[in-house]
């Protein structure tokens, strides 16, 4: 039943998004604008600042992710469908996992556009080690979205949710973003140090395990009452 609920929630979110493309368009537009502004500001005479690409990629992911989180739960708020999900006998952590996977898929899709754009504008060899890059992006995105999904669900009925979400989210996810930036930065060095990369990646996996476990543990009590 847990897996079925996860699948139902994920498929439902995916179907709605494919029909409206609302979150995909707004998230992508915002993320691309962000990268372009940094590129105009920082790339001088065709030369990008050293190490800047990693930071800008993760800033764009974090900002776009915050927007996507807010919009995803706004959709559940408009017809009070989050209440309907909580009224169902399905395990509430399964609802959380379904929503989390939806956000992760959406952000990974945005990253498919962002990574080539950053690589192009900042002349960063992001595709030199595709497996490492994919691992860093996946673990970093899961860590960010795990906390974000929990907070966005908690704040869905708060009047100032749009302000509160980044205020709560960024301080908690700073370790994930720093680890993502450092790992991606290590990937852009002329000689990649696999040991350093493994340390950062292990750290990201640890954050994921801690954040997802805490979120699964707290989602039910936080959503009751």
């Amino acid at each position: 039943m847990f897996g079925q609920t996860v699948w139902l929630v994920l498929r439902k979110d995916f179907t709605i998004e494919v029909r409206s493309l609302e979150i995909a368009y707004t998230t992508l537009f915002f993320a691309i604008s962000c990268v372009l502004v940094f590129a105009f500001a920082l790339v001088q005479e065709g030369r990008a600042p050293e190490g800047g690409a990693a930071g800008i990629l993760w800033i764009a992911i974090a900002f776009a992710g915050t927007l996507a989180l807010g919009r995803t739960f706004e959709r559940e708020r408009q017809a009070e469908t989050l209440r309907a999900l909580l009224l169902a006998p399905a395990a509430r952590p399964a609802v959380y996992v379904g929503k989390l996977l939806g956000i992760v898929v959406l952000l990974l899709a945005a990253e498919l556009v962002l990574v080539p754009l950053v690589a192009l504008l900042f002349q960063a060899p992001l595709f030199a080690h595709p497996v490492w890059l994919a691992s860093i992006l996946l673990t970093g995105t899961i860590g960010f979205a795990a906390v974000g999904t929990l907070f966005a669900a908690m704040l869905v009925r708060a009047r100032s949710r749009d302000v509160l979400l980044p205020v709560l989210l960024y301080p908690i996810t700073v370790p994930v973003i720093i680890a993502g930036v450092r790992a991606t930065g290590a990937l852009l060095q002329p000689e990649v140090d696999a040991g350093v990369l493994q340390v950062w990646l292990a750290l990201l996996v640890c954050f994921d395990v801690v954040f997802v476990t805490l979120a699964l543990w707290t989602f039910e009590p936080l959503m009751t009452d």
Binding site: T15, A79, E80, A84, P89, D225
Partner: protein, 256 residues
């Protein structure tokens, strides 16, 4: 037309609902205070009262969405604290908001919720629900293209798709034309005949007339009167809700 019995999902079952001295506070605000009542299978109980009387809070408490600040709610031998998920599978809720995804079709909405409630054959249950709602021909249209009345009918079938024992309805007549309201009345009577416990919160006394086995009149979160098999609801409501003789009117009370 009744729903196929196969659509009832497994879960806790019970013969009565007993609310004992239940209060619920939000901070310092008292939403409901010391409410006690009991409802048996095959009964329609009405919660009647003005805005802010505590009707929706009472429904949220019965739906297990809220916990009482004090008092107990028993669903037969079960309580929400111990049997939460099993109980929720025996409860159907139609809220003031319709709990439907406008981008999905009526059939997709019904199949989604049937899945969440563990209904074995989701497709058949959704098809039967669309038939009952009189929307079999519009099942593959997005809910956003429906009128309020059509959405209300889909939302009611969504609430009933798992064959709940306890049915909680918040203003179910909203947006329905006369024919749809009459059909809803017949649907509620069919639910009563099938042994469901129906709790109905409404302002619409004319439509509730003749439908209720028991009426609870709420004011300021308290039960001010109960009536079994009530008739002349509007007169009774006026009598119960009017301020007592000699009491200051609202204007005078404010010193106007």
């Amino acid at each position: 037309m009744t729903r196929p019995s196969t659509s009832r999902s497994a879960g806790a079952d019970f013969d009565y609902l007993a609310v004992d001295d239940v209060s619920r506070h939000f901070g310092r605000r008292r939403a409901v205070a010391r409410i006690t009542f009991r409802a048996e299978r095959g009964a329609i109980l009405g919660l009647l009262g003005p805005n802010g009387a505590g009707k929706s809070t009472m429904l949220a408490l019965l739906a297990t969405l809220l916990r009482p600040t004090s008092g107990t709610i028993r669903y037969g031998d079960h309580t929400a604290g111990v049997h939460g998920a099993a109980l929720r599978s025996a409860i159907g809720v139609l809220g003031h908001d319709l709990f439907l995804y406008p981008e999905l079709t009526a059939r997709e909405n019904l199949e989604f919720f049937a899945g969440l409630y563990g209904v074995a054959d989701r497709r058949a249950a959704a098809g039967a629900a669309l038939d009952v709602a009189g929307l079999a021909g519009r099942g593959d249209d997005p809910v956003s293209s429906f009128s309020r009345g059509m959405r209300q009918r889909v939302a009611l079938e969504r609430a009933l798709i798992h064959g709940p024992r306890l049915v909680l309805l918040d203003e179910p007549f909203t947006g329905l034309d006369d024919a749809s309201a009459a059909a809803l009345g017949r649907r509620l009577q069919a639910l009563r005949a099938s042994g469901a416990i129906v709790v109905l919160a409404t302002h619409d006394l004319d439509l509730a007339e003749g439908l209720l086995d028991r009426a609870l009149f709420l004011r300021d979160g308290r039960v001010v009167r109960t009536a079994d098999r009530p008739d002349a609801l509007r007169a009774m409501y006026r009598e119960v809700m009017s301020p007592p003789a000699g009491a200051p009117s609202a204007g005078r009370a404010r010193g106007a």
